[in-house]
């Protein structure tokens, strides 16, 4: 018998993106309402599949991330128990819906919408997983004493990549690797996100791009419900196309061979005398040596192979900008 598993679901609840997703000119429109009903069915299924399974749900709202539900501290509510529903399901459904309602009501005017706090939600989920996996040190003795063997995370994303969040996202991915948390990603709407593709790849999870949005529940059940230990015998889609090549900070070209500043790790496509990010001056001798040894094909940065499989840009240009402020 396999072990109990913990699932942290991160729901991207960007009002703009969900509005776009529900437009009827999409091939398969999916409204937030339909999405939530399918999501709740999935959450119930996770709880029902094993008694010891635990669940936490986090919502990423514009500029804010909120914990919607967690098994360890369920919301106290004094509603009468419905005789027709299983109480644990009811608690999850009520708690998630209630929190989402509250947050959406509290949202400001749509025109000043800030990007979704996906990073905040992911780090919160990591902190929560850290908390439940070390129950001995927690202050609350009522916490579940059993150490959970395989925590995992499911990100339901609708927003596009936010290039300013590159470094925090990567940091979260590395800490997930350290905690042995598998990150699954289900991209419901919008273009592929490179950051989340990398997250799924680096933590051994699966990244799924929904082709038929109306079949969301089926995708969730088939590829995200079974814990990673069972997935070996199922054939969960893998991704072959992720490209870990980097883009240079100067022209945003994807490059094969780059020149990297040893101080701040900025990437350039040709030898430069001064680092544009941290303003370090490089020795003349190095420049001459590098110019001499430079392979001829990098003179034309966009070559055939780059276009053919250059689907992803590893390092966005803006990843470099905060460095200029902190390192002079």
């Amino acid at each position: 018998m396999d072990n109990a598993s913990h699932l942290s679901v991160i729901v991207d609840l960007s009002p703009t993106q969900w509005h776009l997703s529900s437009q009827s000119d999409n091939t398969h429109p999916l409204s937030l309402k339909d999405f939530l009903s399918q999501l709740l069915a999935f959450l119930n299924m996770h709880i029902a599949s094993k008694h010891e399974n635990t669940l936490a749900v986090f919502g990423a709202f514009p500029g804010k991330s909120v914990m919607l539900y967690s098994s360890t501290d369920p919301l106290q509510h004094n509603r009468t128990i419905d005789a027709n529903s299983y109480p644990p399901f009811r608690v999850v459904d009520y708690s998630v819906m209630q929190h989402i309602m509250e947050e959406i009501d509290a949202l400001g005017e749509p025109e000043d919408e800030v990007p979704c706090a996906l990073v905040g939600a992911v780090t919160k989920a990591l902190c929560y997983i850290n908390r439940i996996s070390h129950p001995s040190t927690s202050s609350n003795p009522a916490d579940n004493p059993a150490v959970l063997p395989d925590p995992r995370m499911l990100i339901l994303s609708v927003s596009p990549d936010l290039s300013t969040s590159y470094i925090p996202i990567m940091n979260s991915i590395f800490s997930a690797q350290k905690l042995k948390v598998t990150i699954d990603v289900c991209k419901i709407y919008g273009p592929d996100t490179v950051f989340l593709q990398q997250a799924a790849h680096l933590t051994g999870g699966s990244y799924i791009y929904l082709e038929r949005r109306d079949a969301l529940l089926q995708y969730l059940i088939m590829s995200h419900l079974p814990p990673p230990s069972i997935r070996n015998v199922l054939s969960v889609p893998t991704q072959d196309r992720i490209d870990f090549r980097a883009a240079c900070f100067c022209h945003k070209d994807i490059i094969d061979i780059g020149f990297v500043c040893s101080v701040c790790l900025s990437i350039f496509c040709k030898p430069v005398p001064v680092c544009t990010t941290c303003r370090t001056k490089f020795p003349m001798k190095t420049l001459q040596r590098l110019n001499a040894s430079r392979p001829p094909q990098t003179l034309t940065p966009v070559n055939g192979s780059t276009v053919a499989n250059g689907s992803a840009i590893g390092t966005p240009r803006s990843a470099g900008t905060p460095m200029a402020a902190s390192l002079r």
Partner: protein
């Protein structure tokens, strides 16, 4: 690793630890981030002066040193100690420090007969191997672009145990078999350092060259003048750090002082591990001050040529890799010579180009932009106004002051506030955010 060693770390007066100022506090956290509470020797700072070296201690009744609280629980004492330990790490300077990102380290293991001493259990040798394994794993986690080599000192000669490599598995395999490393004879510091030095002599100036010596003997048997070797190391900018297991030797102290390394004598098992793990975070660059007038060209800064490889998927036709000559489908293609290597980061075996992938570069960024330390909340000005649960993990935060005596930098409420987003976090999350995630859940950066 956890409880028992901590008393020593506060005391400067009677210990042999000498650390450069900026390294002291920041480095502590890693080894103990997820410390499991052992109630052994958990007492306050005041008692630390009475602590003896392992070999001087006679019989410790560790259970006597723990204070029970009113309810007869140890929980309070343990937590109090842990909170204090964790907070101290945050007293590091918050400003941006230039750190050496590309590191090269030679681990010099003493394999002389003195390593069979049993003053550290089970033996010095076994303990060293065990800590070396943990050290290597942790080191590569924090320095993904670094390389480690292993050299042993045995029977009067230096012995190459593991070649300089960027792959932790290779190095762990090199020290995996303890029967091949069986300690024998006298150690020779000079021979071993010379061997390490020659391994690193070709390295470029922007990378650090470091030697970490684990030294258990009290003698060294050298063919020549070791001070000449020391001068050469200074000239080559090799930083030597020594962790001595027996006692302080003048030459060891001198090696460290002249090359800018750290010297420490391990007093017991836990302290030994601490001394080693202090070398895990990348060192601050100290070469900046050497060119005060010019200021223009920093010798430690350089432009490095790196290749970003193409990853071959599992479904590609199998071919032989250049590193192990094995038939595999997955792998990485060197962008310059199109040789296929199994793992990155590495130096291409054919053309010598440094091959990295962008996540490896990203992994080093957190050293460059650390999370701001949280402020300890010492007074709840308005209880009704402040949030009741930790912003990150939703654990309920206590609103009553804990009974233990509050020390500097520790919140009596177990509540720590981010200076940017003004959210409150619990002790656990404070440590977790700063040690592991490197990203504040409130501000998202």
């Amino acid at each position: 690793m956890p409880a028992k060693d901590i008393d020593f770390m506060d005391v400067d007066s009677d210990s042999d630890i000498s650390l450069p100022a900026e390294e002291t506090s920041r480095s502590k956290g890693k080894g103990k981030g997820k410390a499991v509470a052992k109630p052994k020797k958990t007492k306050g700072k005041g008692k630390a002066n009475e602590q003896a070296y392992t070999w001087e201690a006679s019989y410790t009744r560790s259970w006597d040193t723990v204070q029970e609280d009113a309810g007869g629980n140890l929980q309070g004492a343990v937590e109090d100690w842990m909170a204090r330990d964790r907070r101290r790490r945050l007293l590091a300077p918050a400003g941006a420090i230039r750190r050496t990102i590309i590191r090269h380290l030679i681990l010099l293991l003493d394999l002389s007969s003195s390593m069979m001493d049993r003053d550290m259990r089970p033996t010095r040798f076994d303990l060293t191997l065990q800590y070396a394994r943990e050290f290597i794993t942790e080191w590569f986690d924090q320095n993904p672009l670094g390389q480690i080599g292993v050299v042993g000192m045995r029977a009067g000669i230096g012995e190459r145990i593991g070649e300089m490599s960027g792959n932790p598995q290779d190095i762990l395999r090199a020290i995996a078999d303890r029967h091949k490393l069986e300690p024998i004879g006298e150690p020779s510091l000079q021979n071993a350092i010379e061997m390490a030095r020659s391994t690193m002599s070709h390295l470029p100036t922007h990378s650090s060259r470091e030697i970490l010596i684990i030294f258990g003997s009290l003698t060294t048997c050298d063919p020549g003048n070791i001070h000449d070797t020391l001068d050469d190391c200074v000239k080559n900018r090799i930083r030597i750090s020594v962790v001595a297991l027996a006692a302080e030797m003048k030459i060891c102290r001198e090696l460290c002082d002249k090359t800018g390394g750290q010297f420490g004598v391990a007093m017991n098992e836990g302290h030994f591990k601490d001394l080693m793990f202090e070398l895990v975070p990348p060192p601050a660059q100290n070469t900046l001050s050497r060119t005060p007038g010019a200021g223009a060209v920093n010798p430690a800064a350089d432009l490095m040529m790196m290749g970003f490889p193409t990853r071959l998927p599992d479904t590609s036709p199998p071919s032989l890799c250049v590193c192990h000559s094995e038939l595999k489908s997955e792998g990485f293609l060197c962008p310059r010579c199109l040789a296929k290597v199994c793992d990155v980061p590495t130096d291409c075996d054919i053309c010598g180009l440094m091959i990295v992938s962008s996540p490896h570069l990203a992994r080093s960024y957190h050293h460059l932009f650390p999370v701001k330390p949280y402020e300890a909340v010492t007074a709840l000005v308005d209880v009704s106004d402040s949030t009741s649960a930790c912003h990150a993990c939703a654990r309920i935060l206590p609103t009553t002051q804990s009974t233990s005596t509050a020390a500097e930098g520790i919140s009596p409420f177990g509540r720590y506030r981010c200076p940017d987003c003004h959210n409150d976090f619990c002790t656990e999350c404070d440590v977790f955010v700063h040690d592991v995630v490197h990203c504040c859940p409130g501000c998202g950066k």
